[in-house]
């Protein structure tokens, strides 16, 4: 039996062409891996082995025969798309998200839909309405979230690559805690059409991979203007994979001192400092940066995201789709109210209510408007930094994966865990989390690189440079 863990798209294609194994055999190996591990780890909400097998009929495309998975908030026609929520437990997608469509056009072989915090509201998968995804490095710890299932699928060899989405740190965070690459491009680079919306001014599809080359290839295949998403960047698909350049000499890398203070775990800092030494030795110029305290991003993110959540979740009424209550209501508004009351979990209710409160008359200026103004300050702060540096480097998460149960009675767990990813998320910046080592408990540590808006190539190149020096 071949080992699927750590496999990359290029390695699989090479094996196909050398006749080491067939795409059918590779798919079978992944199905076996899922059967072996997923009863315990719970990375998948649903498997789609039949569709994966059918996809093998199309050969010769960039992703043909490469087993992959997709987060359960991406619509995929004819499959259940639940966003790990009870209210959408039986929802069958009548259409494809642009990402799904582009995967399929490129030969995508999708083995399943991955678990997440319900509606992506969280950073652990503990708020999935179904079950918690466990960390493969230590099953007493969380995988991270919200795209935790996707991260675990790639970390364990249940998928070669996986699709996720990020609103604050939902790709970078679980990538960091599960020891894989997690890449999110500039806001608008990959279409949001057909992704169940959380915070529309923040949501960004992203990818989980076992190396930088795969992240670049997926960006090239998934990016490009989409007229069904009015916020999509009005440019053609990117061409980063063939332009990867590992040269680090002369690169100006900014180290924000606020990302290394006493709020960050010492073992995490030590691992990142070792990575910085790799860059320095390779000729990069290391420059200390003074950025706005990331604590302001927690406040901005809390308000903006919850406000947008309250608006986005209002589309789910249980009438056109979603859970329908058995309580006989007298009016349609009462019916909708019962449908939502029974269907939404605690987190969705809490966030919708908080958001409606911050948008309501009398509070709008103090909360929502103020948050939007501080968001401007954060964007300007980054813009100023990028006049001095090419990239910003720091830890992805302030600590390694915490123990299960950490989110209980903690309505701000996600916001606090994502403190180092929120500033760049609010500014829509391209970023990648790279696995750089382990702590004394054997849990993975991730380093993030953040680039200026539209500078995906710079981010991927600097990540590629590090990868080439450390593999």
């Amino acid at each position: 039996m071949m080992e699927t863990k750590g496999l990359t798209i290029a390695k699989a294609k090479e094996a196909f062409s050398k006749g080491e194994y067939t795409s059918q055999e590779l798919l079978n190996a992944h199905i076996n891996k899922i059967s072996e591990l997923d009863n315990k780890l719970h990375a998948f909400v649903d498997t789609t082995f039949e569709q994966a097998a059918e996809s093998l009929e199309v050969t010769g495309k960039p992703l043909s025969g490469i087993p992959a998975s997709i987060k359960d908030n991406f619509n995929w026609k004819g499959t259940k798309t639940t966003a790990s929520s009870n209210i959408l437990k039986n929802y069958i997608s009548p259409y494809n998200a642009t990402v799904t469509e582009r995967l399929i056009e490129n030969g995508g072989c999708l083995v399943g839909k991955t678990n997440m915090d319900a509606f992506a509201h969280g950073s652990s998968t503990e708020t999935s309405d179904f079950f918690t995804t466990l960390n493969p490095y230590n099953e007493e710890h969380v995988a991270g979230g919200s795209s935790g299932g996707s991260a675990v699928a790639v970390a364990t060899g249940m998928s070669v690559y996986a699709i996720g989405s990020e609103t604050a740190g939902s790709v970078r965070g679980p990538a960091s805690w599960c020891g894989v690459y997690g890449f999110t491009p500039t806001y608008g680079r990959i279409s949001r059409y057909g992704v169940i919306a959380m915070g529309s001014s923040l949501d960004r599809p992203g990818v989980f991979t076992n190396n930088v080359e795969d992240a670049a290839l997926l960006l090239d295949l998934l990016s490009g203007k989409d007229e069904r998403d009015a916020t999509s960047i009005q440019e053609p698909a990117m061409d980063t994979a063939s332009n990867l350049d590992a040269t680090l000499t002369g690169k100006r890398i900014g180290i924000p001192k606020q990302y290394f203070d006493d709020r960050i775990n010492k073992e995490v800092i030590a691992a990142i400092e070792e990575a910085i030494a790799v860059y320095k030795k390779a000729g990069a110029e290391i420059i200390e940066l003074d950025l706005l305290d990331p604590k302001y991003s927690i406040a901005v993110y809390t308000v903006v995201q919850r406000s947008e959540v309250s608006s986005n979740l209002a589309r789910i009424d249980g009438i056109r789709y979603g859970h329908y209550s058995d309580i006989e209501a007298e009016t349609i508004l009462d019916q909708i109210s019962y449908n939502r009351g029974e269907g939404f979990g605690n987190e969705a209710k809490q966030r919708s209510m908080t958001g409606a409160y911050t948008l309501s008359a009398g509070y709008y200026d103090a909360y929502y408007k103020k948050a939007q103004q501080v968001r401007t300050l954060i964007i300007e702060d980054f813009a100023k930094a990028f006049t001095k540096v090419d990239l910003i480097l720091g830890p992805t998460m302030p600590e390694t994966a915490p123990k299960l149960g950490v989110t209980k009675n903690n309505p701000l767990f996600g916001e606090l865990a994502d403190v180092l990813t929120e500033p760049s998320a609010l500014a829509g910046l391209p970023c990648i989390s790279i696995p750089v080592g382990y702590d004394s408990k054997g849990l993975p540590i991730g380093m993030q690189l953040i680039g200026n808006q539209f500078a995906e190539q710079d981010v991927l190149n600097a990540a590629y440079g590090y990868q080439q020096l450390t593999i």
Binding site: I298, M353, Y357, Q453
Partner: protein
């Protein structure tokens, strides 16, 4: 810390039409107060005259031609509704009969 009351929670739940049983109001009250806690940090920042950001990458006024294109069929659009009759979603009577 933001000071909210049980009435605020009731009002906001009614605004967004999510049924919250009376006995759960206190729980949500405490969750909302905690969630709004970080907002106190705003007081440290001067935002006088600062423009608001609602779109990060500067995309403006993306228009497309108003052309009819294939979209969801009636069958697909109704696929996920629980109460369907004659190609419609059925709901409680909205307009009363004058009584």
């Amino acid at each position: 810390m933001a000071k909210l009351t049980k009435d605020d929670i009731k009002k906001v739940a009614d605004l967004i039409k999510i049924h919250i049983p009376e006995e759960e109001l206190d729980n949500y009250l405490s969750q909302l107060e905690t969630a709004l806690d970080p907002v106190n940090d705003f007081e440290e920042l001067d935002t006088k005259g600062v423009a608001i950001t609602s779109q990060t990458i500067g995309t403006k006024n993306i228009n497309r031609k108003d052309e009819v294109k294939p979209s969801l069929s009636q069958r697909d659009a109704l696929l996920n509704g629980k109460n369907i009759k004659n190609g419609y979603f059925t709901v409680q009577q909205v307009i009363n009969d004058g009584n």
